[in-house]
Symmetry: C2
Subunit: 199 residues, 2 copies
């Protein structure tokens, strides 16, 4: 006998989550048992509701509970610009700064030749369709991560879109605000010098 | 708009767990949405089942789905010895080594003068009742953590039980197996010298 079945099963469920090993799963399961009935009920309900009610926006691919999503159906937003991100968390990060008022496109992945992920494996074809159908769009901002896969995706998209005469930009590379020059990596420093701005 | 309500609620539920901040909660919530329907259903079911079916053994206080627990009701175990631990996870840790075949007593906490937790706030009175009623018991092993609170609890229990003529022991202090003497703290090293054993 190690743990009674109900807690063993709960530990198993927690351990399926990313970054949660068996020890953390055990700690979480025991903690859960000590929570109020109401809180545990809410937790279970929220799990099921999130899974059931959330869907991907049929236009931009963002995670949403209404289709089209609140951003796509918001006429007050700038319809001439699309910001391309890897996933819905990036949309949320951009929305937090409250500075960008255009539309989004969520790729749900990045082109990764190393892992055999090609352009057809991510939500890219839809972007091209949008650009063909919605003639208002005159700029696509690529905001993929600054990793090898992010750069590969960025390069691919710009190569596909530029011949069509669409302005393609990407987020600036440079020093993170609050960071130490001493600790900046060489590539970041190089980009920061290349992209220096006049004061 | 940041996240759609269903996912915001799920993030909130995850963030209530210990050691899970808002960023990890967000990652877990998004991961959950990508899981199979079946897995999410199981997760929710396991949460509710664990909360509903688990209870504390009326004899030893261990977490169990049957009362008395499997250990207390197992006649093949040594009924003359009780090992006292802080919580059910410690019972499981002891059971894993498959060397201890006596009974347990789970305190659900430690005496902690600093935090205002006294002997009456933990499951200690029950231990004394057990010792009075079950005359077979001739040894109590104290296996609380080797922290200040663990030591305080250990001292208190031994002071209460010794006058009653019960043998009280505690787990050995010394070097952890596989550890470096160079990195051992002074107190551990001191205990290791004091408790040295003949070869």
């Amino acid at each position: 006998m190690l743990y009674p079945t109900p807690i063993a099963k709960l530990i198993e469920s927690f351990a399926k989550l990313p970054g949660i090993g068996i020890k953390t799963a055990t700690r979480l399961a025991f903690y859960t048992i000590g929570m109020k009935d109401e809180e545990v009920n809410d937790f279970a309900k929220n799990l099921l509701a999130a899974k059931r009610e959330l869907t991907y926006c049929s236009i931009c691919g963002n995670l949403t509970d209404v289709d089209p999503c609140n951003i796509c159906s918001d006429d007050s937003r700038d319809q001439s610009i699309i910001l391309v991100v890897e996933d819905s968390k990036d949309v949320s990060a951009m929305e937090k700064i409250q500075e960008y008022h255009g539309l989004y496109h969520v790729l749900h992945g990045l082109i990764s030749p190393m892992n055999g992920v090609g352009p057809d494996d991510i939500n890219l074809k839809k972007l091209l369709t949008r650009l063909q159908e919605e003639s208002d769009i005159n700029e696509v901002i690529i905001a993929t991560n600054t990793t090898a896969d992010g750069e590969a995706t960025s390069m691919y998209i710009s190569r596909v879109l530029k011949p069509a005469g669409i302005k393609v930009t990407r987020l600036a590379r440079g020093l993170a605000v609050g960071s130490d020059i001493e600790y900046a990596d060489e590539v970041t420093l190089l980009r920061a010098i290349e992209n220096r701005t006049e004061l």
